[in-house]
Symmetry: C2
């Protein structure tokens, strides 16, 4: 249902590369990460517990602690996996097109998927809002995640401006941050009111970037 874009593929890479068909599904560890990730974006970090995950997966509290000794370990692993999938998604986009506008659409698509999943905000938004009350290791991973996200977005805007396909004043750094922050905030606002608010923001961003 979720993670269609930022799809995990570590399950396959972990499996033996035997020739015979291996129909083994995702491991418990991955299922825990899946559940935790969705709970993070739906309820926030401080508002979900091991119990939520245990009930959802039909396992016991202690089973989760076996894979992730502390909740901070789980949260840190969650962001790290998110970062890896994000890099894969970027590579996929970069290998599929050279048009910065299409790349930007790929970026927007991530947020649109959160929106369509219903009541989900982006990881950066939750972790930013709860930043002072999450473990240090999670704070570190959050910083890395944000750095990587904006590094790529800046490069897309830079290429778009150079080719004349995107138009904006100020700096690519400023514009990338403005766009990312607006989308992050828009998911939060949309959750409080209605989905249309997000689309309004998205339309505004696109209108601002349109060459004359």
């Amino acid at each position: 249902m979720l993670r269609r874009l930022l799809k995990s593929d570590t399950a396959d890479s972990d499996r033996a590369s035997a020739i015979e068909p291996c129909a083994k599904g995702p491991t418990t560890k991955e299922l825990i990460l899946d559940a935790a990730e969705e709970l993070l974006q739906r309820r926030s970090y401080n508002a979900f517990s091991y119990q939520h995950i245990a009930v959802q997966l039909g396992i016991r509290n202690a089973a989760i602690h076996y894979h992730f000794p502390s909740k901070g370990d789980l949260g840190t692993a969650l962001i790290r996996r998110y970062r890896e999938r994000y890099q894969n998604y970027i590579r996929q986009i970069e290998s599929g097109t050279t048009d910065p506008r299409e790349m930007l659409q790929g970026f927007f698509k991530i947020y649109l998927e959160y929106l369509d999943a219903g009541d989900m905000v982006c990881p950066g938004g939750v972790l930013g809002a709860e930043f002072t009350s999450i473990p240090c290791s999670m704070q570190e991973e959050t910083r890395l995640m944000l750095r990587e996200i904006y590094e790529w977005l800046i490069s897309v805007l830079l290429r778009g401006r150079d080719s004349g396909q995107l138009r904006f004043g100020g700096t690519p750094e400023g514009k990338a941050l403005e766009i990312g922050c607006a989308l992050q905030g828009a998911l939060q606002i949309a959750r409080c009111t209605d989905k249309d608010r997000f689309h309004l923001v998205l339309q505004q961003i696109e209108a601002d970037l349109k060459p004359v």
Copy 2:
């Protein structure tokens, strides 16, 4: 230290309007709201407890429950008071200038104060991120708060565009949402990385609005 802009004045209105000087400070109830508001923007709703407030004010847990029976009551009262102060601030701005650009600066100032206070995000950002895990009454107040904030911002942009002092494509509704969401997200990003990120976003917003 805080709330210089959105300063509470209910303390004075509650006092008897006698002629003799009344040096009575803010009531305990107001001090509780002050502490809760700062904790909300610093730690988020789910990450602060009555204990935090009690220690900070040098009172006991039960004393807070006397003024606010449940934590949801406290949270709801907090947002309601915020809304009232916000309306006062808007009225103050409207009575001080007719220049939409100055009004916008007044709007930006709110966020700049949160930034300068250190590690604070805006109420809308926290409540949006934790929206699904806060009481219904708080959700309702949050919706009202957002409605009022953007209603005014839209009117400012509309007047600015009509007078030619502000320039932007799309609709005033879309632009207002984009600006508000960008500032909300920027406070969260700045908290994760560094304050300069917020100023970058602010500069970008201002550059986008500048008439040619």
